[in-house]
């Protein structure tokens, strides 16, 4: 399993190579990419903070669960940190599997779980301000009483 939190540019090639297997008929790759807008505001760039050692532990645990749950052959999960410009890849997941259905479902589940529980944070920088985003899917918000959620 290739699991990494890194300030370096994320390239699909090494992640694909890490999940290739002679018995895999399907490889699904997901790129989370910096978008030029969010919730109606124009985004200039993002800054990602992380707790790298713990993030890699949690990503490894999620990858292991995904392999088990969806019968995946191999999983790679990479998350980038630091300043990212529009169009750059913040999250890269690759999974391989005997058949396609589980590859799509497993990869989708991985993204969902990463957004819930991996200690990584993004700050949106707009033309007129900036803010650390509290992920609506994060366990911290899901577990807080509804009155605390904005």
């Amino acid at each position: 399993m290739l699991i990494r939190v890194t300030p370096d540019v994320l390239e699909p090639g090494p992640a694909i190579a890490a999940v290739e297997s002679p018995s895999a008929g399907a490889i699904d790759i997901f790129l989370g990419v910096v978008r030029d807008n969010n919730l109606g505001r124009r985004v200039q760039y993002l800054v990602y903070d992380a707790y790298p050692a713990m993030a890699e532990k949690v990503m490894s645990a999620i990858a292991g669960e995904a392999k088990e749950r969806f019968g995946l052959e191999a999983v790679a999960v990479l998350h980038r940190t630091g300043r990212l410009e529009i169009g750059e890849t913040s999250l890269l997941i690759a999974v391989s599997c005997g058949h396609r259905k589980a590859s799509f479902e497993g990869c989708h589940w991985l993204v969902d779980e990463i957004k819930k529980r991996v200690p990584v944070w993004k700050k949106e920088v707009w033309d007129d301000g900036e803010e650390w985003v509290e992920g609506p899917e994060s366990l911290g918000l899901q577990q807080a009483p509804a009155s605390m959620r904005s």
Partner: protein, 81 residues
């Protein structure tokens, strides 16, 4: 005998630092250490309702015991991906 506290993202900006060591007290828990930190840095109080915690890189609860030399991370709602 100390505990190391790690702050990230919004908490690190509010506190002005990412890491601090506090003296460990008898029967310390995650919640007790957090409350002493907030006693010193009241700007962190507003984050408590949505905070999660990790001790030595594993998610923990407010009543989890904190041992000497442990690392306690205060984890605001994550937004990776």
């Amino acid at each position: 005998m100390t505990v190391t506290i790690l702050l990230f993202a919004s908490l690190a900006e509010a506190a002005g630092f990412r890491r601090i060591e506090l003296p460990l007290e008898a029967d310390d828990t995650v919640g007790a250490v957090r409350d002493r930190l907030i006693g010193r840095y009241p700007a962190l109080a507003r984050f408590v309702p949505t905070l999660l915690y990790a001790v030595d890189e594993e998610y923990a609860r407010p009543d989890t015991a904190v041992a000497a030399g442990a690392t306690l991370a205060l984890i605001p709602p994550v937004s990776g991906g």
